[in-house]
Symmetry: C2
Subunit: 451 residues, 2 copies
């Protein structure tokens, strides 16, 4: 039998990140200042980001070097394995070859650590002592806590209150890494207090937590803000995983017909898909790029393409993206990491331009595929990542239907060891397939900023 | 900087397990039938084990081939990485080089899957339809559930009731893999009912759960029993990890001065240490082999060397080993996987003969080292594995004291993603360093079978 795992040595690890802004036929429109509605400049972002990340945000250089200090930490788990899903192929009785890139091997348990380490490094290099961020389900909070600890930075994480209560294990992890994890909305910020005045029982949202973290960073000289998805520099850092995957597939003379990742803020999709988007745009490769999102929060498939705020309070710049409107309140699906009203401007633009495509799935379907995957391949996936699995299963069944030995690549962005209660719900038949709250969507879209 | 991770390709994976029974200066005395007190023969074991495992139990062949079907499943995660603990070395300011073998990458999260897959394979090959086993903290139950599922076998796991209640995440995992997880003592077996009659509130113990699983297997034609540690065939299967580690160290021209693993039933220690014990016994290598155990259950450091039962009810053969007495009730430390009164006869004999040595540590100390490790190396270890980390830290500090660049190898047998509440207790200062219950030990030793 040929290889199951395709590994790269540390010497083969990419030394540069790939920046798709060098190659896109259309760049997203520039981010706008929330006050003036004029394009933001470096000075506007300086209170919350280090200059090196601000430069990366707008750079059109194709390759950006990965600092040696970041590479050294990457080597704890990178290059991550690419695995041929032989047993899943067998279970589906498909002629398709299915490969998955497995980012669950990172000590933080997901791909989020790729950008967290880079962001902590640049902040440290520019003299910052402390980072503030928000987290939904907790994967990003864990990753930034760990990265901050590697570089001796303090870290404060505003965690959406409902997750803070429901996911104590992720909170424990942040505490092990020495971070200060706070339930949001909190009384520590004026935006948190404002929400609590209106609704003392508020369970929070990602948009609220972002407002609190940004306010924290703006109000302290020694503190910057860090974001785990959406922004261009985050997509840039995640490209390391797609670059590795492309190299790994080349080792076995394989090239994907379709590349799939789940998509919330977009960094995971960007990471695996952008190096292949380069092949598609620059070299004319015939590869489909599929972003899989929850049908309960269908930003790419049902959202409006235009300007919107990244947070609920309206502190952040306006981004040019697909959005459901910052007031949209998605149902409480188990994939907390995908419950975001907006999306990466880069991913949004590629979908708008037909270079990438999007699919939306309900949570019963994605858990069915998650359990099928766990039983056939062994690894229990995070609910978020299971959107990619489900999409890959659909593609494999279509290949069977067509009788074609198509090659499918997906990113398994994280393990589900801290999401097991949601599997209990699924196995007990208690999982609901929430319909999209059409009224909330309509209302949220009506309130989009008019620009 | 030189390599951080030392990887092997699948082609370099061992094709044979190493059987230390070929090379030990003294073999343990034979196992005795619990009724006749005569050495057990294959016929005695046939009701609960497949013949191939019974043969392995007493084989003195040095190399035993790993079946191709088992190798194919191993390839999902094996060869596992060997990692140079650069950041831990730095944190300890030691001239020592510290390497760890990381078994937490297995889909079951620990080294237990190495033998689970082999055991499920041999049972399937001999026509068995169903496996019964016990589990304490749950790592073994998870591994066997997963392995049984790979080979299409049913699986019933008797889980010590206190863990069943306290560790619902591990129970969820077993259910994902389709196993039937039952709180022990249960009303399904006569030994369970017997315990419940005496004490309806019994929280169970590993010894009781073993009795239930063995009774289950004996009472059904289609069912065999599987044990996750202690026995010779289990130690044999785990040798794959030590063989890999030795090959990985050779790749960077390194050889350990000391090899360390935690030790409960002994399979984890056997796995990493036996291939080096071969070097020591056969080739005269100067390598120390250290088994790290909890001071609350100090089998190797405080136990009696002689015959004892493996379970509480006295169903199992009498094994020649270090034991605290089957009636010994260790305090409720967080390292549930190390709370066993006995130990592997092979490991016991090697310790008795001075080829291996043992150290005992309190749980506050091991959690301190666990957090130090997590903060410096990134991976959050299982409490059991943290005994090995703590012992490695001690060795590294001794090397600093001596000003010697010693080489330390330890096995990080599993991750701690499902043990986070114990970290919460530690960080909150709530962890107790239980003293050894001397009265219980004295009483248990007095009740040892007189043979």
């Amino acid at each position: 039998m040929s290889e199951t795992k395709i590994l790269l040595s540390e010497k083969e690890m990419p030394t540069h990140w790939y920046n798709i802004q060098a190659d896109m036929p259309n760049l997203p429109k520039p981010a706008l200042h929330p006050g003036t509605k004029q394009p933001v400049g470096p000075e506007d972002l300086k209170p919350i980001f280090p200059m090196e990340l601000i430069k990366q945000e707008v750079s059109t250089e194709r390759w950006i070097e990965i600092p040696e200090e970041v590479q050294e930490i990457y080597k704890i788990w990178r290059p991550s394995p690419l695995i041929r899903a032989r047993w899943l192929e067998k279970a589906l009785d498909t002629p398709a070859k299915i490969y998955y890139k497995y980012e669950g091997v990172s000590p933080a348990g997901s791909h989020k650590l790729n950008t967290a380490v880079a962001q902590a490094y640049y902040n440290k290099a520019e003299g910052i002592k402390r980072l503030a961020t928000e987290t939904g389900a907790g994967q990003w909070g864990v990753a930034l806590s760990q990265a901050a600890n590697f570089f001796g930075l303090e870290c404060t994480v505003y965690m959406v209150k409902v997750s803070y209560q429901q996911k104590p294990y992720r909170r424990s992890l942040m505490q092990i890494f020495g971070a200060n994890c706070i339930a949001s909305p909190s009384t520590l910020t004026s935006s948190g207090r404002h929400i609590l005045e209106k609704d003392p029982e508020s369970l929070g949202s990602l948009g609220i937590a972002i407002s609190e973290a940004v306010e924290d960073a703006v109000s302290r000289e020694d503190t910057n803000y860090a974001l785990g998805s959406v922004l261009n520099h985050v997509a840039l850092h995640q490209s390391v995983l797609g670059l590795e995957a492309r190299e790994q597939m080349a080792k076995v003379d394989a090239y994907p017909d379709v590349v799939i990742a789940c998509c919330g803020g977009g960094s995971n999709f960007a990471g695996i898909a952008f190096p292949f988007a380069y092949d598609k745009i620059v070299k004319g490769a015939k590869v489909r790029l599929v972003a899989a999102e929850p049908s309960a929060c269908p930003t790419l498939t049902r959202g409006h393409f235009g300007y919107d705020y990244g947070d609920v309070a309206g502190f952040t710049p306006l981004l040019w993206m697909y959005t459901l409107g910052k007031e949209f309140m998605p149902p409480g699906i188990h994939s907390g990491g995908l419950r975001y009203h907006g999306d990466s401007p880069l991913v949004s633009q590629l979908v708008h331009d037909g270079i990438a495509e999007a699919r939306a799935f309900g949570q019963t379907a994605i858990f069915e595929s998650a359990v099928l995957f766990a039983k056939s391949e062994g690894f229990v996936p995070a609910p978020e990542s299971s959107h990619a699995i489900h999409s890959a299963v659909e593609e494999a069944l279509a290949a069977r239907e067509a009788g074609e030995a198509r090659t499918i690549l997906f990113n398994l962005s994280g393990h589900g060891m801290l999401d097991l209660p949601s599997y209990d719900d699924f196995l007990a038949g208690k999982l609901e397939d929430y319909p999209l709250p059409e009224d909330s969507l309509k209302e949220a879209l009506a309130q989009l900023p008019k620009i």
